[in-house]
């Protein structure tokens, strides 16, 4: 944490325009978190990994649609994993830094949100360059745009889930374990459970139930948004058209986006609440 002592915070806290100052403080903390993370080689490695993977997918496949399909798997599996694990570890590692900040006249929520903002920004930058640039270069269409937006939203949602996991337990191992469990649940377990229950209740009309269940998992939301772009033809078949009509409509898109925002803001809000009252 070299150079951290050099941070200078304004001493007066109760002057008019405090909100603006608080906002500035949060941004300042976020800035230092970003610097700190960028000095850590991990995010750089993540960026290079994404860049290499997406470039090779697009170069290997003659059809950009095929490259997008392969890239989608990375975004649905690797991105949440990296986001959760890295964010949890980083938060645990910066406890000392946060303790230092807490000794200053700063609001706890500002410190925490500053940490979140810094973390989310650096991972989004890595994703934006690693995936966003190749996608826009090789496939600058609507589906490419959707893929990038989905990836960014998923990053935000999983960093927020990771922060929640990290504040729930003081023990690092347990916190990381919980974060991994969340990742495993969202990417694999949830779909498995829904599929199983779908088989079990296949005699009933389940279309609407299944559409509702999709909102309970951020990975599913991102996946369905991409499905509409990549498999539009197949979705038009049979009752699939129902999904196409709902998720493809303005209402459906708006609702999906809103649900995604809830997935970002919800866990973060909960984490901030816990962090405020936490005995550090």
């Amino acid at each position: 944490m070299k150079g951290l002592t050099a941070i200078e915070f304004p001493q007066s806290v109760s002057l008019p325009g405090e909100n603006i100052r608080a906002h500035k403080k949060m941004l300042k903390i976020a800035k230092y978190v970003v610097y700190d993370i960028l000095r850590n080689r991990f995010v750089l490695a993540y960026l290079v990994f994404l860049l290499v993977v997406s470039m090779s997918f697009f170069n290997m496949e003659s059809d950009p649609a095929k490259g997008m399909m392969s890239l989608l798997n990375i975004i649905l599996i690797v991105l949440p994993l990296v986001s959760t694990v890295f964010a949890t570890i980083h938060l645990y590692n910066s406890y000392e830094f946060m303790e230092l900040l807490l000794a200053q006249p700063l609001k706890r929520s500002d410190i925490f949100l500053g940490e979140y903002l810094g973390m989310a920004t650096s991972l989004c930058i890595a994703f934006g360059i690693g995936v966003g640039v190749p996608v826009l270069l090789y496939d600058g269409s609507m589906r490419g745009f959707t893929l990038v937006v989905c990836g960014l939203l998923l990053t935000l949602a999983f960093v927020s889930l990771a922060f929640l996991a990290a504040v729930l337990s003081r023990d690092k191992a347990r916190g990381i374990g919980l974060a991994l469990l969340l990742w495993f649940f969202c990417t694999i377990l949830y779909d498995g459970i829904v599929l199983m229950s779908m088989f079990a209740f296949s005699d009933y009309p389940l279309e609407k139930v299944i559409m509702g269940l999709a909102f309970l998992n951020p990975v599913d939301l991102a996946r369905i948004a991409m499905l509409l772009q990549l498999d539009a033809a197949a979705l038009m078949g049979y009752t699939g058209a129902l999904f196409q009509h709902f998720f493809g409509s303005a209402t459906g898109t708006g609702l999906s986006f809103l649900a995604m925002l809830v997935w970002i803001a919800g866990p973060l809000w909960l984490a901030v609440r816990i962090f405020r009252k936490k005995d550090i």
Binding site: E61, D63, A65, K66, M69, L72, N73, L76, I77, T187, I188, D191, G192, V194, L195, M198, F199, S202, L206, E207, I210, M211, A214, D220, R223, I224, M226, L227, L230, D231, A232, A233, A234, L235, M236, G237, Y238, T239, G240, A241, L242, F243
Partner: protein, 421 residues
């Protein structure tokens, strides 16, 4: 020998001379509004067989016109034949009639008789070319005719439901007709064939029709090639026919629960090659088809490239190319009586050690999820989920639900088109 050649030459000259002399007796009747001859009906009744009726620009509301003798009807400056939503603008009841350069509009609709913009009854050698047909019930209707030629016409209609719209080009009980270079949109079926044999359909563009772009029933030994069928309600249907040849056609964007790039039902001994299928819900749906060969077709970004029902047998799929389809092949049973040979599948993950461009491991094109979504369509919402991917993988290793016999033993490592180039 030389004498014979000389005789032939003289004979040819003589025949030409006779033909010219005879042609010189044919008259041209010029119909124009505001002149002595302002009615097409009058011109037709005055004309002698093989005369020409030249119709100048103007609007002609003459009820139902009938051509009952061999005539050449030519429009200059797009004269309009208006059916006023009551009449059939032009009926042809004679051999050797040609119609060109007219704008035929607003043919009446009736449930007792199928009225059409231009209808041909029981005739031979009728040529209908280069006409504009707009908002007609049926567009061009060939009934029990032979050796007719329909070419370069543009047909447009604004039908909304199947019941109130007629077909664009409709042929019933015909033989040796040729339908080429027409553009058809907004009719019930773009082109409709029933009991039509030995016919040729080429270079037509059939778009946004309510039901099918092309509808084929009980029509044997026909060929259609270089046509485009795009955004039609249900794509193209070819049913109950034998010896049909389909080449170099494009089937695109036929989307919907019952939409097929092409629906093949009870087709025998037919041949389909070099067609392109792009973004259809189901590119090719086959039911009860036998002894047909599908080769060198290209399937791109379709929901299902092939749906081959278990009622099909002895069909061969060879050198086809599959790119970025959601599902390559689906079927409804374990029974497989068809052959898949040397196709290119972009999802193939095998290897080629001896470098003969043929994969050393067979490819199973039916995925588990294709079978599942056939039973439970709403399971489609879980496609591309990692869980489904894992299930599919497990199924690939130990096939239990998908038919093990449906496989390509010699999958190509590179697309067939690439091998040609």
């Amino acid at each position: 020998m030389t004498l014979n050649v000389k005789l032939m030459k003289n004979l040819t000259v003589l025949i030409c001379f006779i033909l010219c002399a005879w042609a010189a007796t044919a008259r041209t009747w010029v119909v124009a509004p505001g002149t002595a001859l302002s009615s097409i009906k009058a011109a037709i009744s005055q004309a002698r067989p093989f005369d020409t009726v030249l119709v100048r620009a103007g609007e002609y509301r003459e009820g139902s016109l009938t051509v009952d003798k061999p005539l050449t009807l030519r429009g200059a400056g797009w004269p309009v034949l208006d059916g006023e939503n009551k009449y059939q603008p032009l009926g042809i009841r004679s051999n050797y009639v040609s119609v060109s350069g007219f704008r035929v509009i607003r043919c009446g609709a009736q449930s007792m008789e199928d009225m059409a913009g231009i209808k041909v009854y029981n005739a031979r050698n009728v040529y209908i070319f280069n006409n504009d047909l707009e908002n007609n019930y049926f567009g061009i209707y060939l009934s029990a005719s032979k050796h007719c030629w329909v070419s370069g016409n543009r047909l447009k209609s604004i039908g909304t439901v199947e019941q109130t719209a007629g077909n664009g080009i409709h042929a019933w009980k015909c033989d040796s007709v040729s339908i080429t270079d027409n553009q058809i949109r907004g009719h019930r079926d773009g082109i409709y064939f029933e009991f039509v044999t030995n016919s040729f359909i080429a270079r037509n563009y059939s778009e946004a029709n309510i039901r099918y772009g092309l509808h084929f029933m009980f029509s044997h030994s026909d060929t259609y090639e270089h046509n485009t069928f795009i955004r039609n309600g249900s794509g193209v249907a070819v049913m109950y026919s034998r010896h049909v040849t389909m080449r170099h056609n494009t089937f695109a964007a036929n989307l919907g629960g019952a939409a097929y790039g092409i629906l093949l039902k009870d087709i025998q001994s037919s041949y389909m090659s070099d067609n392109e299928f792009i973004e259809n819900t189901v590119a090719v749906f086959m039911e009860g088809c036998t002894r047909s060969l599908l080769e060198r077709n290209v399937f791109r970004q379709n929901g299902w490239a092939l749906k081959v029902q278990a009622s099909c047998d002895n069909n061969t799929f060879r050198n086809n190319n599959f790119f970025a389809n959601t599902f390559d092949v689906a079927t409804n049973n374990q029974l497989v009586l068809n052959t898949f040979d040397k196709n290119y599948w972009d999802k193939y993950e095998g290897y080629d050690i001896n470098r003969d461009q043929i994969g050393d491991v067979p490819y199973h094109p039916v995925s588990l999820f294709a079978m599942v979504s056939d039973q439970m369509p709403y399971a489609m919402l879980f496609w591309r989920s990692f869980t489904v991917f894992l299930l599919d993988r497990a199924e690939k290793v130990i096939p239990s639900l998908s038919p093990d016999q449906l496989r390509d033993n010699t999958p190509l490592m590179k697309p067939y088109i690439a091998l040609l180039q």
